[in-house]
Symmetry: C4
Subunit: 269 residues, 4 copies
Amino acid sequence: MDARSLQAAFVAVRSNKLFEIFVISVILASALLVGVKTYEISPGMRRLTDALDLAVTLFFVTEIVIRFIASENRRRFFHDFWNIFDTLIVVVSLVPVDNSDMALVARLVRVFRVLRMVSFIPELRLLLVSLVKALPQLGYVMLLLFIIFYIYAAIGSTLFETINPRLWGDIALSMLTLFRVMTFEDWTDVMYETMEVYPLSWVFYVTFIFFTAFAFLNMIIGIVVNVMEEEHRGMQAKAAASRGEPTLSDVHEQLQAIREHLESRAGNR
Amino acid sequence: MDARSLQAAFVAVRSNKLFEIFVISVILASALLVGVKTYEISPGMRRLTDALDLAVTLFFVTEIVIRFIASENRRRFFHDFWNIFDTLIVVVSLVPVDNSDMALVARLVRVFRVLRMVSFIPELRLLLVSLVKALPQLGYVMLLLFIIFYIYAAIGSTLFETINPRLWGDIALSMLTLFRVMTFEDWTDVMYETMEVYPLSWVFYVTFIFFTAFAFLNMIIGIVVNVMEEEHRGMQAKAAASRGEPTLSDVHEQLQAIREHLESRAGNR
Amino acid sequence: MDARSLQAAFVAVRSNKLFEIFVISVILASALLVGVKTYEISPGMRRLTDALDLAVTLFFVTEIVIRFIASENRRRFFHDFWNIFDTLIVVVSLVPVDNSDMALVARLVRVFRVLRMVSFIPELRLLLVSLVKALPQLGYVMLLLFIIFYIYAAIGSTLFETINPRLWGDIALSMLTLFRVMTFEDWTDVMYETMEVYPLSWVFYVTFIFFTAFAFLNMIIGIVVNVMEEEHRGMQAKAAASRGEPTLSDVHEQLQAIREHLESRAGNR
Amino acid sequence: MDARSLQAAFVAVRSNKLFEIFVISVILASALLVGVKTYEISPGMRRLTDALDLAVTLFFVTEIVIRFIASENRRRFFHDFWNIFDTLIVVVSLVPVDNSDMALVARLVRVFRVLRMVSFIPELRLLLVSLVKALPQLGYVMLLLFIIFYIYAAIGSTLFETINPRLWGDIALSMLTLFRVMTFEDWTDVMYETMEVYPLSWVFYVTFIFFTAFAFLNMIIGIVVNVMEEEHRGMQAKAAASRGEPTLSDVHEQLQAIREHLESRAGNR
C-alpha cells in the first residue's frame, strides 16, 4: 500500500494549481538564465547563475519523476510524444558544465530547455502539431522544388565552378548559393560575376527565380485552400448542428412523411 | 444658469460644421508645420513657424477644453479612449520649445500631433481598432515565433560571439541579427563569416529561415481565415435577412404547419 | 450627302478586320522601334528608324482622324476615356525629333505609344480599369500608411539629420529612406549607422517595419476579401439563374401555394 | 507469333512491380551520379562513375525500347507527351562524353535525367501539368507586366544610358536591371547613382515598384480566386452527390409531385 499512497500523493502534487504555476515559473527562470548567460557577467553572478542552473536541472528531473510515478500506466508513459520530448530535454541537460571540453555543448543543450515552454502550453503544442501535420501535404511540392534546386545546382557547378569555386564548388555549395538567389539576397552580385564569362547566364537566374517562385506560390495556395476547406466543412457542420437549424435532409424527410400521409389517406378511401 | 448656457454654447460650437472643417485644417496645418521644420529655413520663416506652432498648440488646448465642457457627463470624458488619446497628445505638446535642453524632445513630441488625424477621421479610428483587435488572435503564433528567435539567438551568441561580437555579442544583439536574417537583408554576409569557423553553420541559418517563414505563413493564414469567416457569417446573415429571402427554417416551419393541418383534418374525420 | 458617304466609308474602314490587324501591327512595330533605338545603330539604320517613326506617327494621326469622323456622335467622342487616352498619346508624339533641345523629350514621349497596346486590347483595358477601381477601397489604408511614414520620417529627420544628411536631410529624403527600409533594401546599413550615435535606434526601425508590414497585410487582405465577395456573389447568382435550379424562394412559394390549396379545400367543405 | 509473344513478354516486364522499383533506383542512382561528379574525385572513382554513367544510359535506352515495344499502339506512342519527354531525355544523353569538345555539353545534358523523376512519379506529373495549365490564365496580367517593363526600360535606357551603360546600355539590359529592382536587390544603389544626375529619378523607381507590385498582387489574387472557385465547385458537387444528400432540386420535385397528387385528387371528386 505504500507505493500506492505515494502515487496518489504524486498525482495530487501534479494536479495542484500552485505546482503548475511553480513549474511555469521555473521554466521561465531557466529561459531567462539562458539569456543572462550570453552577457558578460561578474564572477559572483556567474556562481549564482550556475547555482540556479543546477537548481533548475534538479527541479526538472524531480518534476519528470513525479509525472512518471503519477502516471496511471507507466508502460504507456513513453508512448506519449510530449513525455519523450520533455524527458529528452531533461536528460541531455544533465551533461555537466564543469568539464571544459563539454562546456560549450552543455551550454547549448541547456538552451533547449526553453522548448519546455512549448510542451507546457497546450496552445503551442497544438500549433506545433498542426505545423507538423501540414508538412506531408506539401511533400510533392517540396520534392519538385528539390528537383528544381538539384538540376540548377548541377548545371551551376558544371558551368560556373571555375568562375567562383566558393559559390559553385560542388553541388551542395551550389544549392546553398541558389537558396541565396531564391531569397533575392545580393543575387545580382552572383549573376554579374558569371555574366562576365557567359553573357547569357542571366537566363539561368531569371528562370530559376520564376520556377521557384511559382512552386512556392503553389505551395502557399495549397496550404490556404486546405485550411479553408477544413474551415468551411467545420463551419457547415457547426451551422447545421449547434444552432439546431434544419438541413435539406430534414426538409426532405418531412416531405416524404407528408407524401406518405397523403397517399395512405388516398389509399384508405 | 450661467454655466449651463455656457455648456450649451460649447455644444453648439462643437457640432458646428464650419468648426469641424476648421479643426481639420488646423490638424493639417500642424502636420505640414512638422514637415516644413525638417528643412533648412531662414530665421524669418523660423519665427513664423514658431508663431504658427504656438497658435496650433493654443487652438488644440482650446478645442479639448470645449469638448470637455460640452461633454454631457464630464466624469465619463476620460472613459473614452480617444479623448485620453487627444488630451495626451495636446498635453505633451505643451512642453516649451525655447528651453535648449528640451528643444529636441519638444520637437519630437509635436510630431505626434499628426496622430490627431487618426482620432479625427472615424474610418482611420476603425482601422486602428481592428488592427489592435486582430493582435490577440496572433498571440500564440507570436509567442512561438519569439521562442524560435530566443533559442536561435541563445545558440548564436554562444557559438558565434567570438567571431563577430557586434552581431552576436549578447542575446539582444543576436535577436536583432536574426531579425535581419528573417528580412533576408545581407544574411549571407552574416553566414559566410561564421561558415569560415563552423563550415556547417549554414544549417543554423537555413533552418531558422524555414521555421520563421513557416510560422509567419501560419500567422497570415490565421488572419485570412479569421477575416473570411467573419465575412462569410456577415454575408449569410445579410443574404437571409435584408433581402427578405426565406431560410431553411422558414421552409421547415411551413412544412410543419402543413403537416399539422393535414393531420388535424384526418383526425376530424 | 458627300460628308455622309465619307463617314460611311470611314465606318467601313474602322470595322474592317484587315484594318484592325494592320493597326495592331503598326502598334507592335512602334513598340519594336522604341526598343531598337536604345541600341547603338549605324547611321543608315538610324535614318530608317526615323523614317519608320514618321510613318508610324502619320498612321496614328490618320487612324485617330478616321475614328473621330466615323464616330456616330462627334461631340461625345471625347467623353470616352480611351479616345482621350489615344488622342493624347498621338498628339504628344507629334513633337518633332529634329530639334536638338527637345530630342530627348520627343524620344521619351514616343515610348508611351506602347501604351496604345493597352487601349487596343479589351482585356488589358479591363485589367487597368479594375486596378483603378480597386484603388479607392484602399484609400484609408493608404492614408494610414502615409501617416505612419510621415511621423517616422519627421522623427527620423529630427534625430538623424546630423548623422547622414543624404538619407535624413529633410522629410522627403527621410520618406524615401523609409521606403527603402520597407523594401528591406540594405536597411541594416542605415540602422547600424544611427545605432552608433543612438544605440536604441533599432527600436525605430523594427517598429516601423512591424507597422508597415501590418498595414500592408491589412491592405492585401482587404483586396482579397473584396475580390472573393464579388466572386462569391457572382457564383451564387450564376448557380441559381443560369442552370435553372430552384432557389429557396421558389420552394417557399410552392409551399405557400400548396397550403392555400389545402385551406381552400378545407373551407369548401 | 514470335513478335507477338515477345511483345507479351515485354508487357509483363513493364508491369512487373520489381522492374518498377529497379527503374526508380536507376533514376535515383543517375541523379546521385550527377551530384557526385560535381565534386573533386580520384581517377579511380572517375572511371567508376563513367562506367555507371554508361550503364545508366544503356538501361534507359533499354527501358524506353521495352516500353515502346510493349505499347499497344506503337503509332500513338509519341502522341503521349511523357513518352516524348522521356525519349528526348534518353536520346540527348547518348551524346558521348569522351569527345573533349562536347564533354561539357554531354555533362549538362545528363543532368536532365533527373527530370525522369518527374515523369515517373504521377503526383509530380500532375503538379507540372497543373502549373502549365495555370499559365494561360495569367496571360494578360503577364502581358501588362511586360508592357510596364518595356516602357520603363525604354525610358531608363534613354535617360540613364550615359550614367551607367552596364545597367542601362540597351533595352534588354534595362529590363534585367528593372527585374533586379522588382526583387528589391540593391535597388537603392541603382537609384542613388541616377539621382546624382536627375535628382527626381526616385519617382521612376518608386512608381515602377508600385506598378509591378500591384500587377503581381493582381496575378496572385487571380490564381487564388481561380483555385478557390474550382475547389468550391468540386466541394458542392461532392457534398451533394457522394453523400447522397438531397439538393434543392430534389425538394422542388417532391413538392411538384405532392401538388399534382393533391390537384388530381381535387379533380377526382
